[in-house]
Symmetry: C2
Subunit: 348 residues, 2 copies
DNA sequence: TTGTAGGCGTTATCAA
DNA sequence: TTGATAACGCCTACAA
């Protein structure tokens, strides 16, 4: 004992296998397996022996063998479609961290949902069949793609959805309370003294965008707003923000505070202000949503709602990896209002 | 023959295996394997039979079994550290596409290179050992991390580097000619009539940033520039762009054209212009580099150099997956100048 | 609590 | 050009 080292494993300089560990520890293969998988019914003494051998040999279980033989694959799949870079990278980072901490790998799959329906199913089938995965994390807009959800359910594949709009109890999921977050933004502007408001909407298909708008408006009414709230269409893009900003700024009387459904369109609104000869925040306050990377790529820095996107990724992966079958509940994470320089009291 | 269908595979409703295909085609296991792997010495007739069976059974090879038995894993690893969202997502998209087209999976691994050296090696070892991968695609700044490169070489693991700065012939790689690209930007500004130039540098540690600066300056000299070229430090960030912009705009006489080493700092320069009461492009022209997503999130839209980042990802993965041992050559892809609204002739 | 036998789906070796 | 048979490294029964 103790004389064996990494050079004496069964296959020359190859990595140690379970068999090497078993030999060194003087136990059976199955016992090593039990320790590795933290199965019950293992005596402390045996566990200690095995763990010592593992450490000495620098043993790491082989993922391919494990997934071939067992029911788990130690792989988490992350699915997205037409990703917005900032949002996606943050989600991915969070998912990755949970994977790493729980000894899983992260596999990426892009899905193109713009293809015809039949090709879409074929695409999914190919992806999933070839893909021993323990489950998938779904990001918007895939989160609400019924064809995909049906497919996964039919195939018996687990998944967790991030920020689902529809059928919230169909699967485990993580989200924030968009309405409450928008209400916080409304309160912030109200307390600064604003009384004339405008809202730049997100895409109609995007449920969270709708909840943000509604939450903002409802809170204003609750606070006693009397002036009509001006609204303009938007689609989350910078360009749509410029157009929407120009539109609401043309209203008479002009709004003194503009809430946009996300940061990108808020950045566009700021450009519209500048084009109209108005200073942010002295003449007009602008508030965004997401606290994405844009928020600090505009001047003045944008007041916005922080969404814990990375945390959502972490939580989603953790939900997926729970051994006990998780309930189909939607986990709500905390947001926070980030007050920067784009909001201030209205002119006199 | 032909009567067998997917329901009659060996294990009920499970997926078809190679054995099912072999039986249906009336050939041996190994023959199916040969067809799948496009090995030589297969008669056309046999191939046809096997392919028909594969199609009928909807057979897809099992990745886990393949990597356990064989030498390939059908997995490409993508490594990054401290990713800039836009750049990284583009690289990732390109790498993914090649993977998908060549029936490989894409695995993500984040590396934290800010940890102490010893922990860093341990981190790498854990990642690689546990990771049957056919190789890795390295993105900056990992591309030039000597500890990582040494580690991979020592472990005999293949890798392809994207935009390497150091030791360009150490491994296969893809890049663009940064100096030539910056020269193109210089020519564009020169031809607009500018004669007073400023450069906002990138981080000193970033080789490409240095090449951009040098390429820009050299080209101006070649064109016959006589005025001194004003320079300011920058680190690729929006904030550093604001500071650098303010600095170069304070010079007398003021430059009429500013070239920044990337789009983010160019966006900062535009803010500095605005803060100095100068209009872009009427008073000052600003040119960036990357054609990242920021370029169209500022107003006016940024003139910049397009880097084929997604294409670089595609090419890097393709290089990695070549069966014939590739040479350690650096493949240069094409850039292009994207003229938008932030550049114009200088004031009279 | 521990160990034994068999199989997961493929590739590799060698013989035919 | 084809085919039997043995790995690959681990897990799931089941037995002790």
């Amino acid at each position: 004992m103790g004389e064996m080292n990494i050079a004496s494993t069964s296959r020359g300089n190859a990595h140690a296998t379970m068999e090497d560990v078993a030999k060194l520890a003087g136990v059976s293969l199955k016992s090593v397996s039990r320790v590795i998988n933290a199965e019950p019914h293992v005596s402390a003494k045996l566990r200690a022996k095995v763990e010592a051998a593992i450490a000495e040999l620098n043993y790491v279980p082989d993922t391919a063998a494990r997934s071939l033989a067992g029911s788990r694959a130690f792989i988490v799949g992350l699915l997205f479609d037409n990703p917005s870079p900032n949002y996606t990278m943050n989600i991915q980072k969070g998912v990755y961290e949970t994977c790493r901490d729980q000894q899983h790998h992260l596999r990426i799959d892009n899905i193109d949902s713009t293809v015809p329906a039949e090709k879409f199913e074929a695409q999914l089938a190919a992806m999933v069949r070839n893909s021993r995965c323990d489950g998938f994390v779904l990001t918007p807009p895939l989160t609400d793609n019924v064809v995909l959800l049906d497919f996964l359910d039919r195939s018996g594949i687990r998944y967790v959805r991030i920020a689902p709009d529809i059928q919230p109890d169909r699967s485990p999921g993580v989200c924030i309370d968009d309405a409450a977050a928008a209400a916080a933004a409304a309160r912030h502007l109200w307390e600064l003294g604003h009384r004339r408001f405008a809202v730049v909407r997100g895409p109609a298909s995007h449920g969270a965008a709708g909840r943000r708008r509604q939450g903002f408006i409802d809170e204003l009414h609750r606070l006693g707003a009397e002036n009509p709230i001006i609204e303009a269409e938007g689609n989350f893009s910078f360009e749509s923000g410029i157009a929407a900003g120009a539109k609401v700024l043309a209203a008479t009387p002009r709004p003194t505070a503009i809430f946009a459904a996300n940061d990108d369109s808020a950045a566009g609104v700021m450009v519209a202000c500048s084009q109209a000869g108005l200073k942010v925040p002295n003449d007009v306050s602008v508030c965004g949503f997401d606290d994405s990377w844009v928020a600090k790529s505009v001047w003045p820095y944008l007041t916005t709602v922080y969404q814990p996107i990375e945390e959502m990724g972490r939580a989603a992966a953790a939900l997926l990896l729970r051994r006990d079958e998780p309930d189909n509940v939607l986990h709500e994470l905390d947001f926070s209002l980030v007050v920067r320089a784009s909001t201030a009291p209205p002119p006199q």
